[in-house]
Symmetry: none
Subunit: 195 residues, 4 copies
DNA sequence: AAATAATCGAGACGGTACGTCAGGTCTTAAA
DNA sequence: TTTAAGACCTGACGTACCGTCTCGATTATTT
């Protein structure tokens, strides 16, 4: 995947990687995404700029890795009802978007990804894929229970739910109270249920 | 309200205003939001940079005015059913976001607005207010017909619908086929109906 | 000479002239020649920029008039000796150059005059002519007394003396003690005397 | 002395230095000191503006280095008489001030140096120091020969001579004929001789 | 051991845009 | 026609980042 592991020559210092990612996360949180520059990240990490560019193509890729490292290994919820499962899923999404670093980075990050044709392809893949997998499982179970149709459009639902959270938390910055996830899940579940 | 109309001194040339707004819209469409600079806008408009800064505080304000001038004076739909009204409303939103200029500008524009505390306040006001008014009327009629509860949360629904369209059209850039508005409206209407 | 006195229309307000000249002198003294702008002068004088440009072609002309208004109406010295007369003359030059406004303005003013072909012609005329006249009379008397030759080069002597004072006071900014004029006069007198 | 040679990092390209100095000298000669901008110098040198600002604090410092590079390594004259030595010295000064670049730069350069407190200190040091050293030696020999007093004020004489040449060549731009140096030297020598 | 090669921190490099300011001209309404 | 006000275009300012490059030095693998 990456250029070439190429065991010749001095190997990359893994501590640099960690220091850069940490510095990027700190800076984004402190000064925001737009004011975070590669040079400043490198300086704070005690690293040369090339050491950053050797590992990431630019700020969007770096900040994405720095901010979204949760890997979200929580188990797929299985509460027995679609509404319950969706609520848990939405709560996870809200929690993820509500992180100081994520809230500070998200709008600018999405804008930079959307502006670059190559990166644009990765929005579905990198940003939404983990959530999509979990949503698919929830849908399968709900379909087995007869709650929803088998051909319920996952992408549409996911975009809608993610868009709602993004607008609420990332853009408007509103009271992301605990009832948000529950309410969204309720409306969406009711909206797609067969009856 | 504004600083002072102040009839003293030479009045601002309305042709400059028009030329700047036009140049901004063109540039955003041609090279994208990030690559659109105030200097380039001024040059294309045949205007000095000061003439731009005299009227707008920065790129976000200028591009916002340049791209979203639709004023959306279409009548509020009244098809007789909530689903029908929502479909019309959503179609309008999709059409607005799908404009070349709007599609090119939206992600970066929202990011810049979200990054500035002063501008952030205006997202609700300037971006969403027109849609909210129309949605309110639709909700009133639906409530009168008994389709939805009187206290249905407008902001939540609006964020959800706008977020969905933004993710679909602005971010993922997907085929915003004619069925998108209909499907979204159907899911949402069903989700908030009383039964 | 000037455009046209043209008694038609509103006559020029003589108080404006005074206010502008005063504001220019103040600004030059306070912030220096380079930092003195026509706009700032006009603002401090409570006058529009055009009112300034209608009377002066630019900053150099304005500041020259604002700073060198002494008109030097002291009588030509007649002490009985060349050295004595020169000392008085030099003291006058030192006093003139030592004014806060003059000291602040001189280097930049001379530079602007030297850079413009039209103004360059006026250095001899406007800056040095008054001194030259007085020096000529002193020279005539000294020649009549037999102290110097009749063809002693006035311009050369004037440039030398003025240059000396300019370098000392305007450039190096040195303690222009009372002995400066006396010493300079003594050296120059001795240098050009017949024996 | 200088901040730090600091062998760390990429060393500065000496060709850039040369190209910048050359471009500055050309521009000053072609368009004059006032119209010479750092941006234009950088563009002509094929260099970024930062590369200029990294080496010089501003236009005055840069132009000074670009224009006065003569280093004046001519031997101190020793003709056997004060008048003879002074004539040679003055001719050197006239030649230096008469260079197209120097003549174009001098007035503005001196004005900018005089306006900045830090640079003002350097006028004596950088502009006049070389001449002063040579003049000192000439004075020592003349004093040994008994032509002048041992305490003849060097600074006063230097300012006077430099000021004379500056006024003649730099400001008035007059015929700096070969007799100028001779005449000035003669007057000054006679003025300071013991008898 | 010697040669080869990639990485490291540092910082110079050519570009481009920033937002401000001055210059000098012009266009208003009022006097 | 002048006045005060201020808009207008031009172009320079000095700073900040961009992403690339060039150093000397370090740290591995391959001969």
């Amino acid at each position: 995947m990456s250029s070439s592991p190429s065991s010749r020559g001095r190997p990359r210092d893994p501590r640099s990687h960690q220091a850069i990612v940490g510095a990027a996360a700190e800076l984004v949180t402190e000064v925001g995404y737009a004011a975070t520059s590669i040079g400043a990240v490198a300086a704070r990490a005690g690293v040369g700029k090339d050491t950053v560019y050797r590992r990431w193509r630019g700020k969007p890729e770096l900040v994405f890795e720095a901010v979204f490292t949760t890997t979200d290994q929580a188990p797929v919820p299985d509460t027995g009802t679609l509404t319950g499962d969706l609520t848990v899923l939405m709560q996870g999404l809200v929690d993820e978007f509500q992180t100081p670093a994520a809230a500070a980075a998200l709008p600018g990050l999405l804008a930079d990804f959307a502006a670059d044709p190559v990166l644009k392809e990765r929005i579905r893949g990198d940003f939404l894929a983990p959530s999509k997998e979990r949503l698919l499982i929830v849908f399968e179970r709900a379909a087995a229970r007869g709650e929803i149709a088998a051909d319920t459009p996952v992408d549409l639902v996911l975009d809608t739910l993610a868009g709602a959270v993004f607008f609420h938390v990332g853009l408007v910055g509103e009271h992301p109270g605990p009832q948000l996830a529950r309410r969204l899940a309720a409306v969406m579940a009711k909206g797609i249920e067969v009856r």
